[in-house]
């Protein structure tokens, strides 16, 4: 009796501890895994491909089309009002209505991927090859392949506005699966945001062109403005982009879409040799970077406890307490008008990391986009609705800006906030990131009106994005990649902010650790896949 009781409790104890493990297993991470496993290509909805009924699409039946959108559902009721108006128009035009299916930000990666894997009937889906795992989902058959006929018939305006070479970037397994956001200019390339007035005071040109000038600017602030932090960074912000920026400024390397923790470390050699993987971390580029940052740290350009800094940098900048921060073009264009109001005469400027070496790849046209769900019951109508969202001026304005008079007013061809606008009551957003269109965009007084000068600069040296179809299959190197990410996130921040005594030794330690984590194996695998990618691209030409 005693014995059985003992065995029982032992079993119970063991079961409990193990059970705890089972429960908490899912908490440690979110999101998807194993993009590499072989799955059958998309098979769904063969009914859709029967698009022989050319000419007029049949819209006799009223249908509801849903649209998977990333974002938190607005709570002030404005969105519903706008959508009701949109739906009136949609009903009149294509006898359909649309419904937003929000994937809220909390743990969005897991939720989004699970939603796509669930087999639920989804009509339109927001996709993004560089942040939404679109290729892996295409591999798993989440999207409906779209034939030319279908596109021509049901989304004629969109079809006409996407060039053949752009369609090529949206194909999985030879078939179009994404409607790309190819008509929308967005620059999310990083750089330094600095104050033109202080640069002038320091005797520098108002358009800084090199890291040396940036250094002089910072030194001037350090020497002359005791209350200002020359270069302010917050832990957890975009502080990791500075290394990437350094590499962009001093080499012709192109970043590859392979994540590696804090420091990006997988690059292609250059635009002329885009299929050769290189390791700037292991050559002088990185060593020079770390040494320079150590120099900057010793000069006191940033806070002593920079790696734990929890201050909101934008607020600091707006209060005139920051000399320089790092962010991307789009953020800058919104900051500039704010700064003109809060610090008049500050003449906020942007130094894109691309500038010194004219090294810039355009944002992928599939950074935003829309796909049709594989299990959609009404793919034809979904395409028709999408075509209107993207090309119909009235609907476009509604869905992007809200109702004229409530959310915005037009003054001098610009959107301004109406008198009496109340942020809590009237704020509106729809997070429609799957088909914005420059032709229909109305500039806002909330973005800088001279941003075009920057865009022109970019246009003068930008190169098209060439890794649109490159999908790194990490299944063979998962353990190594996880270990590398860890090393990178562990040592990257202190290397980037000069938090060490001897930079040479610190870099050496870092490289040793990376080697130990299996860096060479990942590089070999990356090169192998780049070779395959080269063959794929060449076969398409």
């Amino acid at each position: 009796m005693v014995k059985t009781k003992k065995a029982g409790t032992l079993l119970l104890a063991s079961a409990l501890t193990v059970a705890l493990a089972a429960c908490s297993g899912g908490n440690n991470n979110g999101g998807n895994s194993a993009s590499g496993s072989a799955t059958a290509p998309a098979s769904g909805a063969s009914s859709a491909s029967a698009s022989a009924d050319a000419g007029k699409p049949d819209t006799s039946k009223f249908v509801t089309v849903n649209y998977v959108i990333l974002g938190d559902k607005p709570k002030n009721g404005q969105f519903e009002k706008v959508l009701a108006k949109v739906n009136e128009l949609l009903k009149a035009k294509v006898n359909a209505q649309i419904e937003w299916k929000w994937v809220e930000w909390a743990d969005w990666q897991t939720k989004y991927n699970l939603l796509l894997a669930s087999g639920e009937q989804l009509d339109l889906i927001t996709v993004g090859t560089d942040w939404l795992d679109t290729w892996s989902n295409a591999q798993r058959g989440a999207f409906l392949p779209l034939s030319d006929d279908m596109l021509k018939t049901y989304a004629p305006q969109t079809y006409a506005n996407v060039k053949p070479e752009e369609w090529a970037q949206t194909k999985y397994d030879g078939k179009v699966v994404i409607l790309p956001e190819n008509q929308f200019t967005q620059w999310v390339n990083h750089g330094f945001i600095y104050r033109g007035d202080w640069a002038k005071e320091a005797g520098l040109p108002d358009k800084l062109t090199s890291w040396d000038e940036i250094e002089k600017y910072l030194q001037y602030i350090k020497d002359n403005k005791p209350d200002v932090v020359p270069f302010d960074v917050a832990a957890g912000g975009s502080l990791n982009m500075i290394w990437d920026g350094w590499d962009q400024s001093f080499t012709k390397n192109l970043p590859l879409p392979v994540t590696s923790g804090f420091l990006p470390m997988f690059y292609a050699k250059s635009y002329d040799e885009p299929y050769t993987a290189v390791s700037p971390i292991f050559d002088d580029t990185f060593m020079n970077y770390v040494k320079k940052m150590k120099e900057w740290a010793d000069k006191g350009f940033w806070r002593e406890d920079v790696l734990n800094n929890k201050v909101d940098i934008t607020t600091q900048l707006e209060a005139g307490l920051t000399g320089l921060m790092s962010h991307h073009t789009s953020q800058f264009s919104g900051l500039r008008p704010t700064m003109d109001k809060k610090q008049p005469g500050s003449d906020l400027q942007f130094f894109p990391f691309a500038r010194p070496n004219q090294n810039l790849m355009a944002t992928s046209i599939t950074h935003g986009g829309t796909s049709i769900g594989a299990h959609s019951k009404n793919p034809e109508r979904a395409l028709m609705v999408y075509d209107l969202l993207r090309n119909d001026k009235e609907i476009y304005d509604l869905i992007n800006y809200g109702i004229e008079g409530t959310q915005y007013e037009i003054k001098d061809n610009k959107r301004v906030l109406p008198a009496g606008y109340d942020e809590t009551r009237d704020a509106f957003y729809s997070d429609f990131w799957g088909g914005r269109n420059d032709k229909l965009e109305i500039p806002s007084d909330q973005t800088w009106d001279k941003i075009d000068t920057l865009y022109q600069e970019y246009d003068s040296y930008k190169k098209p994005y060439i890794y649109g179809q490159f999908v790194f299959d990490k299944s063979k190197v998962q353990a190594e990649l996880a270990a590398i990410s860890q090393v990178s996130s562990q040592m990257g921040p202190s290397l980037s902010f000069g938090q060490m005594k001897d930079p040479e030794k610190a870099v050496q330690d870092f490289r040793d650790k990376l080697k130990q984590a299996g860096y060479d194996k990942v590089m070999a695998e990356l090169q192998r896949q780049l070779d395959d990618y080269k063959k794929l691209i060449e076969s398409q030409q």
Partner: protein
């Protein structure tokens, strides 16, 4: 029931079913707990299989490819596992031992207090930190310890001392972390001990008082021995989680990027966070969890065995 079998000398052992019937009301009372554990602890257990497969959600758990111990590799590949295991265990031992000692001390002090209003106020004040989320704790700590604008450095400066570089000195962090933990958990944990003391037979204390025992003697010889079983049980329970770090506390106090503090503050959870943050992977997460659980299980067994050697009455099984 026994009357049904009047005094048979060699009574055969009752069958399992009979025992079940005899204890049915007790079992019925246990039922909610049993169901709870069945659903939330036993049912998910097959999910541990996740740790051994290359999980992808199209194929599901049982059709994904089996990869053996591959998912554990990222933990050992750089040789950090032992440092992490050591840190995690060392912190937990400090938390468990110091935590319990301080809790017992506080419970006894509260018990000895005469002024009721003071007792209640003190209890409430100590209880409050337990409800402050780790994120806020991290923010408070930063505002105290920050180099340029922190409260600590303002005080030091006004007294004419040099500023302290807390965020680049790994050696002070074990103290900061343990202190923060104690600040947060003492009030809450002392409740259990306080309740145990309340449950004591008051006549024992009175008898001791009549015999001339002073306060210290009463504590040493009556209250502490009385609390021993509670202590041992709490100890055994917490040992099962000895390899589970308090992620919220560490992550928010130390942050994810300050590697100069990692030698003394890196625990398994923070390491895994960095490794898998950008490479979402259910299987690797499960592998870590499995490692922690199996390790915790062995520790519980060992500790229980030790307890049984020393004082058999107090062991769990």
């Amino acid at each position: 029931m026994d009357s049904l079998h009047p005094s048979l000398p060699a009574q055969p052992k009752r069958s399992g079913f009979q025992r079940l019937m005899r204890n049915r009301s007790l079992l019925l009372m246990c039922l909610p707990a049993i169901v709870f554990f069945l659903i939330f602890a036993y049912l998910p257990m097959p999910g541990l299989y996740l740790a051994f497969i290359n999980y992808n959600y199209t194929d599901g758990i049982f059709r994904s490819q089996f990869v053996g111990f591959d998912n554990f590799r990222f933990l050992v590949i750089t040789g950090d596992l032992w440092r992490l295991t050591f840190n995690t265990i060392a912190y937990n031992i400090a938390f468990i031992l110091l935590g319990n000692v301080v809790q017992i001390a506080v419970a006894i002090l509260l018990n000895e207090m005469r002024a009721k209003w003071f007792k209640k106020t003190a209890q409430t004040l100590m209880f409050l930190p337990y409800f402050i989320s780790a994120v806020l704790v991290g923010l408070i700590a930063y505002n105290i310890l920050s180099y340029d604008y922190g409260v600590l450095n303002s005080i030091l400066q006004s007294l004419g001392f040099d500023k302290a570089k807390v965020y680049s000195n790994p050696n002070v962090w074990p103290f900061i972390i343990v202190l923060t933990y104690l600040w947060q958990s003492t009030g809450y944990g002392s409740i259990v001990y306080f309740a145990a003391i309340m449950g004591m037979d008051h006549e024992m204390i009175e008898a001791a008082q009549i015999d001339g025992a002073n306060a210290f003697q009463r504590i040493r010889h009556i209250i502490l021995p009385w609390l021993k079983p509670t202590f041992v049980i709490l100890l055994l329970f917490s040992l099962g989680g000895i390899l589970r770090g308090n992620f919220g506390l560490f992550f928010n106090l130390v942050g994810a990027s300050n590697s100069s503090l990692f030698p003394t503050t890196d625990i398994i959870e923070t390491y895994v966070f960095r490794a898998l943050m950008t490479n979402f992977n259910f299987s690797m997460g499960s592998a870590v969890s499995m490692y922690q659980s199996v390790f915790g299980f062995l520790v519980v067994l060992t500790a229980n065995w030790l307890v049984k050697k020393v004082s058999p009455d107090n062991s769990l099984f």
